[in-house]
Symmetry: C2
Subunit: 169 residues, 2 copies
């Protein structure tokens, strides 16, 4: 099987239309749409989405964002890392390695990668070389973080959890 | 209508059983279960969940966690704040003000409150005095944050977004 080609998606109305085939339309897409409509960003600017086309149909996508080191509570030393989310392959195109290809692309930047794994997707992330981190409610607030460490990068140690929440009098 | 009583939920098997009636069983509950089974926390310790009982049935709940100031990128001055999530009222008990009562309880600590609002819940949060923040993908990573500012607390200014992500050669 040839490697599928990963494309950085452009901000335009065609992309937004393609997004309607995917499940999770959230604030990232809405913000893109608004900025496009209000000419805050240009048509065809580069978006934080990457995808795979099958013919001219977008069949897989992910959002990948470089997070500044000041927001980094996962990696040691603290550094810029990539947050990966909205990984999705359209139903009829699953089982062809498109999800794997996108995740491998994210890893190819050689920055640490973090994602919030859906329930029952642990097997997929472990297969991709990601590790579950020890859940820290203060940092993770209900998320299920899986991370990938490039060579030389370690987990960031977290101070013990405070649970001193005293209800008001 | 009398004000419903808000209880801090105890960590025990009864609470975990009640949780099965709610939609979103996530890592917070799983971590509670594990810690309970492995005796890392004691039976009947206080959990970060608060709820409302109707008779002896848990019918509404939320998770409320005090987040340390070092993780605060929402409020000025940076400070400890409360993250509210997993707000849910069981279907037959909706429309009785249980959700409002829980959110008001969160506000009564007089700390800033932040939540990641579900799509189409904007009206509820605005009614509760929360405000939408300007979406910053680096900080918000796909979330839809709504926040409540106590008196004297302001939005934290964010540095302009970097979108300098260059694919590897």
């Amino acid at each position: 099987m040839t490697q599928p080609e990963i494309k950085r998606l452009l901000v335009n109305f065609k992309t937004l239309e393609e997004f309607q085939n995917f499940k999770e339309v959230g604030v990232q897409e809405l913000s893109m749409k608004e900025e496009l409509q209000e000419n805050i960003i240009e048509n065809d600017s580069e978006s934080p989405f990457y995808g795979i086309y099958y013919g001219d149909r977008l069949v897989a996508r992910m959002c990948l964002y470089k997070i500044d080191a000041k927001f980094d509570f996962y990696f040691e030393p603290p550094q810029n890392y990539l947050e990966l989310w909205k990984l999705e392959v359209l139903e009829p195109y699953r089982g062809r390695g498109f999800g794997e290809a996108l995740v491998n692309y994210a890893k190819s930047f050689n920055l640490p990668v973090k994602t919030n794994a859906r329930q029952r997707s642990d097997y997929f992330w472990e297969k991709m070389g990601f590790e579950n981190v020890t859940y820290n409610p203060e940092r993770d607030r209900g998320e299920n973080p899986y991370v990938w460490y490039p060579e030389g990068v370690e987990p960031q140690e977290q101070s013990p959890v405070q649970s001193d929440m005293t209800p008001p009098e």
